[in-house]
Amino acid sequence: MQFFNQISQKLLFVVGKGGVGRTTVATSLASYYAGQGESVLVVQWALKDSVSPIFSSPQCTHKETALPSGFKVMNYSAAEAIREYFVDHLKMRLLYSVIIENKHVQKLIHAAPGVQELFFLGRLFWLVELAQVERGYSYDRVIVDAPATGHAVSLFGIAPAIANFGITGPLAAECERVSKLLADSQKTGVIVVTLPEELPIEECYESIPRITKQLNRPPLAIFLNQSINSSFYANIDNIKNEDWFLNLEEKFKDNYSKQELKLILFALTKRNIFEKKLYDWSTIGENKDSPIPILPLPDIGLMHKVNTPFTVIESLAKYFATLT
């Protein structure tokens, strides 16, 4: 697959159900693009930065921080983004300190749904479109380690929803330009991450049409993390019939152990069943005419006895490089 040559979008949202490996994919993509000489930023919105620890670096904050791996990382803070918007961007320092920092307005900001989301998108817009003009630097690629799918889908709808509130003035302009950026297929793309397991796959069936509807275009691709398909691991489906496996079972003293080993082997090999289900789904119904590309990523963990998040990222970035 000439996959990576087709991804030209500067702003990439990496979305998916919790635990499917969004951070792993976002980070290895960043590592890959950095390796190609691009200037890359990973934007997280999490209680705790989980990218920097992979590279044994201290926790980052809202401030864009360079990692030894050649790209930058930040962890969004709504309070910081709101200050940047009013003070640095709009140059409304007085309004910020009198109105926004007013304790009652602060209560509103903390409690009202949508406020933090809007300023998150606003910051992304700034990073993609305004950093060059206002600060004299720019990124070739801004990769968003997006919140879990439900939150991510509502994130895409938040600006039109807020625009609908009858807003005028600077906030309306903010909503409009953010919506425009998300709607621009040349600038913004979505990558859905999933696992070859029951719930993550089912969630794809449900979330991908929602993303497609919200953005008026399908995601760029589905990245299928931890695949063990035959192109990566040739004989895995046949293990239960192999001599070494049968010999191992013979040596067990407890009959339960045999069943347990079979169960655990099945828990592993059923990934291939779910991978096939995802392929089937991507080529039927409304997907028939233009199936969303699926990119299986090898389960790096099976290659070695001991793996660290760092070695997994390195291996995936190398794998991406082979697809160019």
């Binding site: 635990g19 509103l108 938040i158 929803a161 003035g169 067990f252 347990e260």
Partner: protein, 366 residues
Amino acid sequence: MVSSFPKLHVFLGAGGVGKTTLSASFALSLANSGKKVGLLSIDPAKRLQSALGVNNLSERGVLIPLANKGVGELRAAVLQIGESLSRWVEEKGLPTDKQEKLFENPYFSALAEKMASASDTLAAIRIAEWVEQYPDVEELVIDTAPGIHAIDFISKPEKIMAFLDGKLVEWLKWFVGGAQEKQSFFARALKTGARKVLDGLALVGGRSFLINFGEFLTMLDDVFLTAIVRLKYSQKWLQHSSTQIILVCSIRDDAVFVTKELGRILKSMGINPSLALINRAFPAHLKDEIAFQDFISKNEFLIESEKLLSNYLSSYIMTQQNIYNQLINYADLVIEIPISAGLDTEQELRLSDLSSLGDIIRTEAR
């Protein structure tokens, strides 16, 4: 409102670790032991719903047919905040035209449909309402949204209350002419300050935005009053000594990361989870086989697939041990729940498998 609380069990954890299944199992086991149990689930999978014998769990709650008919009962519902919100409005008996106007208000539809981030917070209102709807409930089991957002369920009631109770709401209502004019000196002094803040907000977002918002707040006034009463109840309930917080984790590094974060935040709030569950743990018998021990510690392999399985199994066990060692710092007790044929194969999920899974948790936790 009743003064004593039913027992609350809150399941928290990363996505895909099995919170929904485990919480349903736990609730089922409680009901089979004779308790009147409520179960609030988030997005239960089809397989689980059919195991419970219902095809479409409602937002209001349906009784689950139990295998052993006794005094116990299980009423299960799915959390759908949009539907709850509409009901909270309807129960106020607003005139139809006002109600329609409210449902059309952009804030209302945004709150009801667009903003997933509100659902964790509103769930706290839903659980208090549950006790009003079903006053004889003895135990309420809650499955929360995946990941750290679920913490909003516990932490945000205060933030929402701070806002609903706050002055800005008063000001906004006054701004759109909805509030009673208070003629005291203090009220007038307050309004001078209010005017400044409102003018400032109008500068940023325009006047009509504030009017829409003010109208929304005015119309929801009664709903908010009830919401505040319910939130206060839930807040006490969540902090009550009988409330049990259960962290759920599976054998995945990212799941541990989320679980530890949850544990850390809970600790900082003075809440101590009583239980952590490691789901899909390594089965019990296999681990003790000498031949198996040899197999996973082997380093030289002639056959590729043999090496893969050995790597897979040894990292499974190592990861689990590692997770156990970490979780023990965040919960009073850590229970490993082994993968089982009934739950982890392609077979149809049976009610009895679920119930016995719940029994394991309850027995071990005793």
